[in-house]
Symmetry: C2
Subunit: 137 residues, 2 copies
DNA sequence: CCTTGAGCCTGTATCAACTACAGACCGTAG
DNA sequence: CTACGGTCTGTAGTTGATACAGGCTCAAGG
């Protein structure tokens, strides 16, 4: 009988299965993003597929720029599935607006910066358009 | 005789003149971004126009997303003006590339996020496209 | 049986860039 | 005189990890 899918995983296995840093897993446990896993008689952490799934969820969310606070919220909604969709939509839309605001900020910065750099002669002189812009702003 | 321009400023005056947080000024002093200002007989910090100028430079640079490390570098070039332009150009161009990379990242995130949110029905159901995307990714 | 190496455990320190607070002192106006 | 607002220092907290120290355990190879 094939029970690979319920095989107990060590921490290093979980790290390999997800690509997550070993220490980061423990960090997520201490801050409550990941549950404290069951322990073996000797006190070793013992993981299984649900941990792999949850950690992947967390990593994908982090990859999309959700904060750990936001992820905590999303996980709560996953765990307690009632009225989920509308609430998730709110979290995601708020985050989307944050991301769009950041893009707008960075785009402004990019414009100012590239305009300024373009005025740079790049020679060995002590006069520099970038410095002037920063000094006179 | 009008000597407003050389009037000694207290820390709170410097904060008001620049819009910088009071505590941030001290922080910049401890990390060497701002010089330790002269003290009065009673040990109070005493600032003048050069501090205002320098702090404004720092704040404009921060606003453009330069790290304190990068700003330290720029300030060094301002203080010791020899071969400035070419070196400043290098710092600014590297930073510009960082900014562009961040914009690219965030744009990818924005696309994924808005596509996912668009599939959201937003109703009171426990099924949610966002959660599914994060779970199955 | 013993050693070796890999893995486990905990706790603590470090990073950026601030922010905030505690506890004490000072200086001036009413 | 006392209240208020300012100053000083030192230290802790924030976010999201990452790294290391010091010690324990386990499985495989000789």
């Amino acid at each position: 009988m094939d029970n690979r899918s319920v095989k107990a995983l060590r921490r290093v296995d979980l790290a390999r299965a997800t690509g997550c840093n070993l220490e980061t897993i423990r960090y997520y446990e201490t801050v409550g993003i990941m549950p404290d896993p069951p322990r073996t008689a000797k006190g070793y952490r013992s993981y299984d597929d649900i941990h792999v799934k949850r950690l992947k969820f967390v990593m994908r969310s982090r990859d999309l720029g959700f904060s750990l606070e936001e992820i905590r919220g999303l996980l709560g909604l996953v765990d307690d599935r009632s009225q989920t969709c509308a609430q998730v939509q709110t979290v995601a839309e708020t985050h989307l607006e944050d991301v769009q605001a950041k893009i707008a900020d960075l785009t402004r910065i990019e414009r100012v910066l590239s305009e300024t750099v373009a005025r740079c002669t790049g020679d060995a002189a002590p006069e520099c358009a970038v410095i002037d812009a920063l000094l006179e702003g």
